[in-house]
Symmetry: C2
Subunit: 285 residues, 2 copies
């Protein structure tokens, strides 16, 4: 495994690899790798001679009240997972490398960032857009892989890459889930045993809502009420949002239009842990 | 002359040229080319096998009240100037190509954009930073050339490129001047004959201030008063600013520190035309 820690070294390596005929796939992560990340790395390794996994816990996408300091970090364990999944290079820069003294640039994607996670986590998506642009400029991949679990983030990344003209294909892969349906997430380690059992309620709520849509329900409030009711059976769970919106724009719709794609979006807090999940559905058709 | 109009075609061409062993120099412009631009293109042609001149009048760096619609455009004339200066490629995208429907990304450079041009032209430097990033991503040059006339812009571009990690050297060349010292600018065509004659007062004010510094004056207010007094001899001229500040940060200083670089910054209006100019000076040493 080649571990690179500076942008300059990364850019030199990529230029050399490309000159030697390799295409480049990359998987941007914040480390604490799980099977969801491994699945992305495997996908990339099937398509590209070089797979770069970036591991960088990006401070600017955490609000001051969030879990930056306790976010799990273990480069040694992550390196094993990358190797087993077929990754060949790790890009693990320091915070000082990515945000040197005097750093003063930020990237803002408008519109889709104003709702859901963007509304609840001030500055979060500016932090995401800025670091993703920097990582894609450093690794200049032909293709970058993201998990659908952070659904709104995938829309932000697609918009960012299209708007800046970064020469990179964005590929989004399905969320990988535990046996009981819980979406894999580095933050699941924060859950105690009871909370971990309760956390499968997000998946149950999503499946219920999807079934309602499949069975012909088109009223957004009915679908949202059903998801909320499922979630609120869990004592101590609080709901940030449980919504069904248009999949590409996150626009609300009182009645789901036929032959469109919608997305079910959930964010809840169980104890002190915030969890998100989502599911895309095709309406009718 | 090869004229490219799409980002995708530009990126393909650059990749092919680089694979064939050429290095790439670029000169981002808004067209209406003059000897200042030609001098940048010549500089680039001395260093690089390929010189790309971009010609794009960027609407997002004009405020609603500014001169976007009347900004001079003449691609045929510009093409001749590029060819004579040794440029080999022109990148002339349309507004729709650079800002397609749904475009919603902007780049903000903090700090140095809050004063002078940034304070007087709301949104101007966000527009500059966003388009320069897009142009550098499209042309991916080894080296990009800018004129010092837009001094604050050169600081913004340097910060942007460093912060995003764009693999590109930024080279700033001295302002090219008319015989009477007026800085070459595409906006000089707006001046009538009388105003054109008066416009050399900017250069006289800069030379006076530089001479004062060379002769030992260190009080910023004395230097600024002298520049203002020179400018205000012109009837109908109004001053936006006439300042001496630290060259790298644009920070004010009551007393110019020895062995530092400062910059004299001027912005005035003559009739309806706004002109800017500047001069870097080393203090003592």
């Amino acid at each position: 495994m080649r571990i690179i820690t500076t942008v300059a070294e990364m850019q030199t390596l990529v230029r050399d690899l490309r000159a030697a005929g390799s295409t480049i796939g990359c998987v941007p992560t914040m480390g604490a790798l799980h099977d969801g990340h491994a699945s992305l790395i495997k996908s990339a390794a099937e398509q590209h001679g070089t797979v770069i996994t970036s591991i960088f816990v990006n401070p600017t996408q955490f609000a001051p009240t969030e879990d930056l300091s306790k976010y799990p970090r273990n480069l040694e364990r992550d390196t094993l997972i990358v190797a087993q999944a077929g990754g060949t290079v790790i890009f693990a820069p320091t915070v000082d490398e990515m945000y040197p003294s005097g750093f003063s640039t930020s990237i803002h994607v408008g519109g889709i960032t104003e709702v859901f996670e963007g509304a609840r986590r001030p500055g979060h998506f500016d932090g995401v857009a800025t670091i993703v642009a920097k990582l894609l400029i450093a690794m200049s991949p032909d293709e970058a892989y993201f998990g659908q679990k952070d659904y709104q983030q995938t829309l932000v990344v697609r918009t960012l890459v299209r708007d800046l003209g970064l020469p990179c294909t964005i590929t989004v892969r399905d969320t990988v889930r535990e046996a009981d349906g819980l979406a894999m997430s580095s933050r699941n380690v924060y859950l105690n045993e009871e909370e971990r059992a309760q956390a499968s309620s997000l998946y149950r709520a999503l499946i219920l809502a999807r079934t309602m849509i499949e069975n012909g329900e088109r009223r957004a409030t009915e679908i949202e009420h059903a998801m909320s009711a499922t979630l609120l059976q869990i004592p101590g769970l609080t709901i940030d949002y449980a919504s069904v919106v248009m999949a590409d724009t996150l626009a609300t719709c009182d009645v789901l239009p036929e032959k469109t794609n919608v997305v079910l979006l959930l964010a809840v807090r169980i104890g002190t842990t915030r969890l998100i999940d989502n599911m895309r559905c095709t309406v009718g058709g």
